[in-house]
């Protein structure tokens, strides 16, 4: 006996699936918003559930202090970026009540610009080298070795956060190159971070709306077969990395949804 509740439930299932398909179809109309080739350095395989057959690539970008994804510095620094998004950054980070003060300012919707292998990437490398030199002069040989640092820089993501704005059009105007710059919807908020030797400071936290992960469709799985079982980070001290083993064409559709359009294996050096 079909009741009204069943019909409502069935209509909901149908409507939700249709809505998603319509949205995806709208996203995949030509031309796309951006198409960018990235390697395993920028799109590593995401950690997989033991019994899951799903392959996901995870967007990685280089942040300050070697951090990937959190506390990345914009062109004018995190505080300037946060102020630009309307956050109140008047409370000094060292004050005791600063924690609750910034916690109470929740992340806001913003568009962030990630540049691939550009000036920001080179500047980021330089900052990392400078920071290493500074650490080495104060801590001596106790910290990371130069080889380890250089290896890290050689294998780090070349995507760097360069800007954020509440208006997508503003960012688009500032960064028109859609083969090197990704404009992604995200939520940006303030957070306090304590770094060794630098005390507590204010950083911007980026939270991706889409989770920052892209599914590898069945048709593109072949070049990635077996890679998940052989992580690129081979461990050791200093850490050893395999060179990137594939490159992938990341497409951002008309509605800014990310998808993979191609995956190609890279010859091992």
């Amino acid at each position: 006996m079909i009741r009204r509740g069943h019909i409502v439930a069935l209509v909901l299932v149908l409507a939700c699936n249709l809505a998603v398909l319509v949205q995806v179809a709208g996203d995949r109309r030509d031309p796309s918003n951006a198409e960018i080739w990235l390697t395993e350095r920028e799109l590593p395989l995401a950690a997989r559930e033991q019994e899951s057959s799903l392959l996901l690539l995870e967007l990685a970008w280089s942040g300050e202090g070697g951090a990937e994804g959190v506390g990345a510095v914009g062109t004018g620094g995190d505080e300037a970026l946060l102020r630009g998004l309307g956050f109140d950054c008047s409370m000094p980070a060292e004050r005791e009540e600063a924690g609750l003060f910034y916690d109470a300012q929740l992340p806001r919707a913003a568009w962030v610009a990630l540049e691939y292998e550009g000036a920001a990437w080179r500047a980021w490398q330089q900052r990392e080298r400078d920071a290493f030199a500074s650490r080495a002069s104060t801590a001596g040989a106790a910290g990371e070795t130069r080889e380890a640092m250089e290896s890290r820089l050689e294998h780090a993501s070349r995507l760097v956060l360069v800007d954020a704005d509440a208006a997508r059009s503003e960012l688009l105007r500032r960064y028109p190159d859609r083969e090197r710059v990704l404009l992604l919807p995200a939520h940006v908020g303030p957070s306090l971070r304590r770094d060794e030797g630098r005390g507590r400071r204010l950083v911007a936290v980026i939270l991706w709306d889409g989770g920052g992960q892209v599914v590898v469709p069945r048709s593109l799985r072949e070049p990635l077969a077996g890679l998940a079982e052989r992580p690129r980070d081979r461990g050791g001290k200093p850490k050893e990395y395999l060179p990137p083993r594939y490159r992938a064409l990341l497409v951002q559709g008309r509605r800014d949804l990310l998808r993979l359009a191609a995956v190609e294996p890279l010859a091992e050096r």
């Binding site: 006996m1 909901l12 019994e51 599914v215 469709p217």
Partner: protein, 671 residues
């Protein structure tokens, strides 16, 4: 004055014969009394004085009314200590074998049906030269009296009455009883809104009635085939039901103004005006159901009264009926236990024959309730039922995880179109499964399992679609999940689904409100005011949605209302800077603490007043937690710990004294 038989308005107060149906019985005024017994109408004085003990068993309490067959009294059954209705044949009718047969027939047929929407008939007897039957006393009025007094009721009330009416008639038909005299005067409504079909005087056992008896009934409410003296079946009752529903929803008879009953029931007559013409708020579904019942050709009418009830908008009254059935079984169990105690204490002596008769009757009722509603008839049965509920819930959760992990295992190997197809068809198939299961089992254990699995599959559907297409997470998905769970909860009266529904819809709605206020929806919990409208909606829901679902949904809503509110109060009472309000942190905290105390106290009071125990308990816990929170704020760092707990203990004793005083007052006030 109306003709007793066909309902036509008649002039004068004296006996007359109806020009329409030719009935020569006494025409009676339809009672508007609020206290009436089935089929009764007080219009003349009693022949038995109140206080008289009749048949050495019944103390007459009051005269309730006079009908065509005789008089009805409210009486106390001295043996069983229950109030009953006694229906006596008129003195002049006592010798009429037709009336006597009708009285006996009423007992015989009505006792076939045990249903909350059918008036219970207990027994028939003869004493002091008078034939009588004892039946359930209903403190209320007939539907006819209600329509005369108030006109047509509001739509939702009419739907509720109609559903119960359909349920009662369906129960009679299920037992092979054709009522044959379904009229507004034979439907009783009590003060609690319960609906009962009465007067089975001309009812028949069997699938078809032919011959001379076929034409018995009230012509104005007869199906054409019944009036013509042809074959009378359950579908003839469906026609009468259609006329009755027409009157209920429009406040007018379907053939109001027709010159004669004969014209009104003629097979080639014009259909009545659509109900929506007389009452514009009548839903098309209701109109279609009513007009379907009024088809001249019996084959064109709905096959069952249950089908008519199901065609009405809103969910059916199955939940209430099932709950009433369990209550009935519980009452019988309590009655048996108390009777046993009374007999053991020597307070009451009951003849073995009477006891056996009551026992047989109860066994028959319980058997019917078990068969129809799968009620628990013993404490052990109840305990096992609880175990079955827990097992089915655990099973449902386990199956949901199984579905998720199975999909995880295969989804990477499926092409996207196959994934989407599987994802969408999973919950749809499970929904259809719940519909199928609910038809096959009364206790809904498997229905609940399938409903929870359907919910889980829909959640997997939305989640996997989001991952597959890199869609941003959205409060809309939570709202959709909540709506889905509500739909299944109300379709089957499932509490587990209601809990899921309120939780998901709460998250979705909280997210939406946060988003509207400029906060990322996923962080709505960090702006606790986002959930305050959710709390208000939960508090109001029993008044709105509660009418369509089981009454036991209301406590769930109330508990959620308190829970959402308590969350906001505790959060903002301690961390005022997370408020939307443009006020100082301390001001916000004080404001919410005060609001917490006020609302919690009001909820305790309301719970006591409205007899909502769950609200009283939950609000009391809320109140105590608020107090402890404040005590900690004030004194934890100020006092030695022993002194702090000494204060807490002293306050608890103070509460104990206050509550004990209140309880003593209540007990003194109780009879």
């Amino acid at each position: 004055m109306r003709c007793e038989r066909c309902g036509r308005e008649l002039p004068g107060n004296a006996e007359s014969s109806c020009p329409d149906c030719g009935d020569t019985r006494t025409a009676t005024v339809d009672s508007g009394s609020r206290t009436a017994a089935p089929g009764s109408a007080p219009s003349a004085g009693p022949t038995i004085e109140p206080g008289t003990v009749f048949a050495s068993r019944y103390r007459i309490l009051e005269f309730a009314g006079r009908g065509a067959m005789g008089e009805v009294y409210r009486a106390e059954d001295l043996k069983l200590g229950q109030v009953v209705a006694l229906k006596f044949l008129r003195d002049e009718a006592g010798g009429d074998s037709r009336y006597l047969a009708r009285l006996l027939n009423e007992v015989k047929t009505a006792r076939q049906v045990a249903h909350p929407n059918v008036c219970r008939v207990y027994d028939v007897g003869e004493a002091e030269g008078r034939h009588f039957l004892s039946m359930e006393w209903i403190d209320g009025e007939t539907l006819a009296a209600m329509l005369t007094r108030r006109g047509r009721p509001p739509l939702d009330e009419a739907v509720r009455i109609a559903r119960r009416l359909c349920a009662g008639l369906a129960a009679a038909h299920d037992r092979g009883v054709i009522h044959r005299d379904l009229t507004p005067s034979n439907v009783m409504l009590d003060e609690s809104g319960a609906v009962r079909i009465t007067d089975f005087g001309v009812a028949e056992l069997g699938r078809v009635v032919r011959g001379r008896r076929a034409r018995e009934g009230t012509p104005a409410y007869m199906a054409p085939e019944q009036f013509a003296g042809e074959e009378v079946t359950a579908r003839s009752d469906i026609y009468s039901l259609g006329l009755l529903l027409y009157e209920l929803f429009t406040g007018q008879q379907a053939y109001h103004g027709t010159s004669t009953v004969r014209t009104a029931v003629a097979p080639d007559r014009e259909p009545p005006p659509p109900p929506s013409r007389l009452a514009p708020d009548v839903d098309p579904a209701i109109e279609a159901a009513i007009l379907g019942c009024l088809a001249s050709d019996p084959a064109q009418r709905p096959a069952s009264a249950r089908q008519v009830g199901e065609a009405l908008p809103g969910d059916d009254g199955l939940f209430e009926v099932a709950a009433a059935a369990q209550q009935r079984a519980d009452r019988i169990a309590a009655f048996r236990a108390e009777l046993s105690d009374l007999r053991q204490a020597g307070v009451m002596k009951v003849a073995e024959a009477d006891l056996a008769a009551v026992e047989r009757y109860h066994e028959s009722v319980l058997g019917d309730l078990v068969r129809r509603f799968d009620v628990d008839v013993s404490l052990r049965g109840r305990q096992l039922s609880l175990g079955m509920r827990i097992a089915s819930l655990l099973g449902a959760i386990a199956f949901s995880f199984a579905a998720w992990f199975f999909f995880q295992r295969i989804w990477g190997y499926l092409a996207v179109p196959v994934q989407v197809g599987l994802l969408a068809s999973g919950p749809a198939v499970a929904v259809l499964g719940t519909a199928y299961a609910s038809r096959r089992e009364k206790s809904l254990y498997f229905t609940m399992i399938l409903a929870v699995v359907a919910f889980a599959l829909f959640a997997i559907d939305l989640s996997v679609l989001g991952i597959t297409f890199s869609l941003p997470e959205s409060y809309g998905a939570w709202l959709a999940l909540g709506l889905f769970a509500f739909a299944l909860a109300y379709a089957h009266g499932l509490h587990s689904l209601l809990v899921l529904a309120i939780a998901c819809a709460g998250v979705g709605l909280g997210g939406l409100i946060a988003e509207l206020a400029g906060v990322w929806w996923a962080r709505f919990a960090m702006r606790p005011e986002s959930v305050l409208p959710v709390a208000v909606l939960c508090a109001l829901a029993p008044r709105v949605a509660g009418r369509h679902g089981p009454a036991s949904f209301a406590p769930v809503y109330r508990l959620f209302a308190l829970a959402w509110f308590a969350y906001a109060v505790f959060f903002l009472g301690n961390l005022g800077m997370f408020s939307f309000l443009p006020l100082e942190k301390q001001t916000v905290e004080i404001l919410y603490q005060l609001a917490g105390f006020l609302v919690a106290s009001a909820a305790v009071w309301l719970g006591l007043r409205a007899r909502w125990p769950e609200t009283t308990y939950a609000a009391s816990v809320f109140l105590v937690a608020l107090l402890l929170n404040k005590f900690t704020d004030w004194w934890w760092n100020l006092l030695p710990k022993y002194a702090f707990f000494l204060i807490v203990g002293t306050v608890a004793i103070g509460f104990l004294v206050v509550l004990r005083t209140l309880r003593a007052r209540l007990q003194r006030a109780a009879p």
